[in-house]
């Protein structure tokens, strides 16, 4: 394994164990950076060490000890110098899985702002650089750097613990972790319309985090649902747009290009996540995605099952967006009129997908004039350019002479 690959795969684990040993985010990060730089110089000269991870951990720890010693001597802090003896005592130089879990829970602490949680997780757990994260979120590098500095200062200043929460808190806190992972995934997924590759990388990072959660918390079911959901979406990612970057709807996508391995893994995970009690939000959404992904042709889609699953989801998450999706599924299962009636009950002012959904059901009914009016309504609200072009194409279709 070369150094670059080692950085990508082991950075988070190594950092996690260093933070536990040193008790300071910034110091651990700086020391690890120095250790990687030392490796860059020493390994080609002397040959790589037998256990590169252990080498990096002990080198970084020694660098951190040096720094603390300098600081303590300068400030004549006897107690810090005494504490160093403890830190320098040889301990096993292997990353401990529990440390990674501690790191994830600290980075995703609800006392930090969501965008700070995402940035910190990508920086520390995934080892992305500040520049990479800034590019992925389309924010200036100094803005993102500032966000990281503030978050780390709050962890230290307000003493956000470096711990896996107690059992009675675990469910709530795990929700917050999963929300961060899914936000990262959606950042990559939603913006991969013609945007640079880095944003697609976010999907891969989020899936990696999902795998890590399952490995670290094997008894929890909902992370399995979350990973399944991400895999099932990701399996279709490349067919969602055509060569020109135009939107291709699910029913028109080239199913032969879907990633079958990801679909199979996602479907297997959904089955596991559904077993043993009421499912959570991610699991139900994954189950819906699995029904879609497993239909060989669009016409084979089991809309009745999808509509039923949306009913379950609506009970867990009574949001108008879920109601909108449910209405479309009911239309496909039980007829357009029933779907239209459900759409009437949804209140989503200013949201273009509500008139767009109504337009689509009217179009399927052959009510071309009503459909055109609804498309115009949607066009007045849409902001994304790819979506605008899609709606304009549809409008042209329904207003074209027979």
């Amino acid at each position: 394994m070369n150094l670059g690959e080692l950085h990508r795969r082991e950075y988070g684990r190594i950092l996690a164990s260093l933070i536990r040993a040193i008790g300071d985010f910034d110091l651990a990060e700086d020391a690890l950076q120095e250790a990687f730089q030392a490796a860059l110089v020493q390994w080609p000269e002397q040959g790589p060490p037998q256990n590169p991870v252990a080498w990096l951990i002990s080198t970084a720890r020694n660098k951190a000890i040096d720094r603390i010693r300098h600081r303590a001597l300068a400030e004549r802090k006897q107690e810090e110098i005494a504490a160093l003896a403890e830190l320098a005592a040889p301990e096993e130089d292997a990353p401990v899985p529990l440390d990674t879990l501690r790191l994830i829970f600290t980075c995703c602490h609800p006392a930090l702002a969501p965008e700070a949680q995402m940035a910190l997780t990508l920086r520390t757990v995934c080892g992305l650089t500040t520049e990479e994260i800034a590019r992925a979120f389309v924010v200036p590098v100094p803005t993102l750097a500032q966000r990281l500095v503030r978050a780390k200062a709050k962890i230290k200043g307000a003493r956000i613990p470096y711990e896996v929460p107690e059992d009675d808190q675990l469910a709530d806190r795990l929700d917050s972790v999963m929300a961060v992972v899914y936000l990262v995934f959606n950042e990559g997924y939603a913006a991969s319309f013609g945007a640079e590759w880095v944003r697609g990388e976010l999907c891969a990072e989020a899936i990696g985090l999902g795998r890590l959660l399952i490995e670290l918390l094997p008894a929890e079911r909902e992370p399995k649902g979350l990973l399944a959901l991400m895999l099932l979406h990701d399996a279709r990612r490349e067919t969602r747009t055509d060569a020109d970057g135009e939107i291709v709807l699910l029913e028109d996508q080239d199913r032969s290009r879907w990633n079958l391995a990801k679909i199979a893994e996602g479907a297997r995970l959904v089955t596991q996540a559904l077993r043993g009690g009421a499912p959570g939000r991610y699991t139900v959404q994954a189950a819906i995605a699995a029904v879609h992904a497993q239909a060989e042709r669009a016409a084979d889609t089991d809309w009745r099952q999808i509509a039923a699953l949306y009913g379950v989801l609506a009970a867990l998450d009574p949001s108008p967006i879920v109601a909108l999706n449910r209405a479309v599924a009911v239309a496909m299962a039980d007829g357009m009129e029933r779907g239209l009636a459900l759409l009437e009950t949804i209140h989503l002012p200013g949201y273009h997908l509500l008139p767009a959904a109504r337009a689509d059901l009217l179009r399927r009914l052959g009510r071309r004039q009503d459909a055109a009016a609804a498309y115009r309504e949607a066009l007045a609200l849409v902001t994304n350019e790819a979506e605008r072009r899609f709606l304009e194409r549809r409008l042209a279709e329904v207003t074209a002479p027979h």
């Binding site: 307000a158 956000i160 613990p161």
Partner: protein, 119 residues
């Protein structure tokens, strides 16, 4: 580590609460305070009189000026504080989360104190 819990609530909706309901919340509040005294987290507490009794002092043009009212007009007003000693932020959040006025739309800001040097 010490944390200051700044308890904010809407004075008007608190005043509008029926008296028996208010008494009930205050009884729960006394229980909450006793619990943190027993557990050793308690350092200090205080309930403030309403913002109508507040005076704000500022310096303008080199002169000290005292004016009627709180330093900022907000939807929720600072009504009291608790100083607690906790292991970490999670413990402070857990203690703050049991404050009974939260049920009536109050909010509690949890602020860590700067550590005192050479303690």
């Amino acid at each position: 580590m010490q944390y200051l819990l700044l308890c904010c609530s809407n004075e008007k909706s608190w005043a509008d609460l029926p008296a028996p309901e208010r008494d009930k919340v205050m009884a729960e509040y006394a229980e909450w305070t006793q619990a943190i005294v027993r557990s050793g987290h308690y350092r200090a507490s205080g309930k403030l009189q309403p913002t109508s009794t507040a005076t704000t002092v500022r310096e303008t043009g080199g002169k000290r000026v005292a004016t009627d009212g709180p330093f900022a007009e907000t939807r929720e007003q600072l009504g009291g504080y608790h100083l607690i000693e906790c292991r970490d932020l999670d413990e402070a959040i857990a203690i703050a989360g049991r404050i009974p006025t939260l049920r009536h739309g109050g909010a509690v800001e949890v602020r860590p104190l700067e550590p005192t040097p050479h303690r």
